[in-house]
Amino acid sequence: MVCQTRSNLTERIKEISANSLEDMKTILPIFFVAVFVSTLLELYVPEEIIFTLLGKNLLLAIPLATVAGIILPIPRYATYPIAYALFDKGAGVGVIFSLISGEVILGSLERDVMEFKFFGWKSYVLRLGLCTAFVIMGGFLIEILA
């Protein structure tokens, strides 16, 4: 009994290690590129542009950040360094919320294809539309609350 439990635990640890390594192989290079992009943003993008696009006019900035999060090919977790660079440049918290939340609305290709196939195009399109609208509203809400 003890042997079986130990064997199960060993198996599980092996599985967790293998999966974690697999994740690291995918995420770490992407994360490095994201940090590089954020450094470039910080050093080369003038603050005026950030303020114009994502700063003063929240009515424009929050929807813009949501759409940017959705359409820009920013990989999973790589949004954070970029969002932080924008935050550091003075972008509002609602804009950061919208960018981070917008990034996950469209997921990986395999996830989107599976969702589309399993639950139908109507459900997929409606969920994307509703998510976009609610993330924009959430951006305004967090701007008021924070």
């Binding site: 995420i27 940090v35 997921g107 998510c131």
Partner: protein
């Protein structure tokens, strides 16, 4: 260019421990999370389950693609689409792995706000689907 690379490597190395911890914790949680939790929700009432499902989505780690086959089976056995969509929405918007990165970058308050707002978003979208399910055939 060398300066930019130096800054990038420095920042990358500072974030690395948090990122590695996040990846491992997410995988540990993923390994121990019972899939029976989702199946048990079928037995409860829709109004009650919407918030439970959204909550389950918020704490479920790992990529959504891992759970989609299970959700498909639940859908085929009569699980309402509104609950599935609430789970998908909550799971994609927030995840335990994001906790480490968001707290490190923007502070705990930002993560707390995002969790609460994402929870509300998931419930709202689930509720809209519940209303539409009666009128539209998905």
């Amino acid at each position: 260019m060398i300066d930019i690379l130096n800054i990038t490597i420095g920042r990358f190395l500072r974030s690395l421990p948090i990122l590695l911890l996040a990846i491992i914790v997410a995988r540990v949680l993923n390994s121990y999370l019972s899939r029976g939790l989702v199946e048990n929700l079928r037995k409860r009432r829709l109004r009650e389950t919407l918030s439970v499902v959204a909550l389950a989505g918020l704490v479920t780690p790992g990529p959504l693609a891992c759970y989609l086959p299970l959700l498909r089976v639940l859908r085929k056995t009569g699980f309402p689409l509104s609950l599935i969509v609430a789970f998908i929405t909550a799971q994609t918007l927030v995840g335990p792995m994001r906790l480490f990165l968001e707290v490190a970058y923007f502070g705990a308050w930002f993560y707390a706000y995002r969790v609460v707002i994402s929870f509300i978003i998931a419930i709202s979208i689930g509720a809209i689907y519940h209303l539409l399910e009666r009128r539209i055939s998905f």
